[in-house]
Symmetry: C2
Subunit: 146 residues, 2 copies
DNA sequence: ATGTGTGCAAACCATTTGCACCCCG
DNA sequence: CGGGGTGCAAATGGTTTGCACACAT
């Protein structure tokens, strides 16, 4: 975990930014809550809980910055809030999501299932793919077995 | 086109709603601008242009209603506005999008490329898929050839 | 009459921004 | 000192809502 912080610190300084205490707290909360799909406010409250002083605006600015550096991915599931996911170490592509229409749970799929599909899209539409977003909506295994 | 309006009218009345003049104008604008990925405000202005009286709130309410009836799909590309796409006749699934990071254009892919992937997801994760969203971000063929 | 639908304006709420202040080099 | 970074509060902007009125059954 410290290693990941270090790497992020390098990415920041490489781009001319510092890892301030607020930024570090924000990153730590993201690390401690991977796969949680936190909103900016979620992050804000979690940092607050550890009795660290931080402003909501700073959280937004930090998340925005991390998004630009491709440290986090900003996603929207359609509920009006943006959520932020730490990008996996060395992941070439964004992972996928399974959103349950019943209980609202969001599960992740780390494997890249789109290799073949991307081949088709690149050649057939002459579109150079940089990234993708894939979300399935349906009934999760928990609700399904009820 | 009249046929599609008729069908939508039936869907509305089946659910206990009427095809009012405002709702019809809204649907016509969507039909005349398929693949345009209009925002609520876009629809509002286009209906206005035809000198039809309509309020922005009505447009929102209509689009919301059509979304619930699965007549339109509500999508967000991350620019802060919701866009509304008429669902294809008889399409079991939502079509895919190619968003150009250079010029911002949004192209559509009607073919369903996810058959195999869905098989995998359903069996491996025991997730019952109802719908999906797939968007590729990259450089479109127009910008690519510049 | 009963209820659905509409327009307007106000309210809402996530996000952004202006600005004064702070800290570090 | 100078510039990035922060906090607060105010502004922004898309979307929703309250309410009075209109229209059809």
């Amino acid at each position: 975990m410290e290693g990941r912080i270090d790497r992020i610190k390098k990415q920041l300084s490489g781009a001319g930014y510092k890892l301030t205490p607020q930024r570090e707290s924000t990153v730590r909360v993201l690390l401690e809550n991977e796969e949680a799909h936190l909103s900016a406010e979620d992050v804000f409250l979690l940092v607050r809980d550890k009795s660290k002083d931080i402003g909501l605006a700073t959280v937004y600015r930090t998340l925005e910055l991390l998004n630009e550096l491709n440290v986090v991915d900003k996603i929207q599931f359609g509920d009006g809030v943006s959520r932020y996911d730490l990008r996996q170490e060395g992941a070439a592509h964004f992972h996928h999501h399974l959103v349950c229409m019943e209980c609202g749970a969001v599960d992740e799929i780390q494997e890249d299932l789109l290799g073949d599909v991307e081949q088709i899209v690149e050649s057939r539409f002459n579109f150079q793919i940089k990234d993708h977003r894939l979300t399935f909506h349906g009934i999760c295994h928990r609700c399904h077995s009820k």
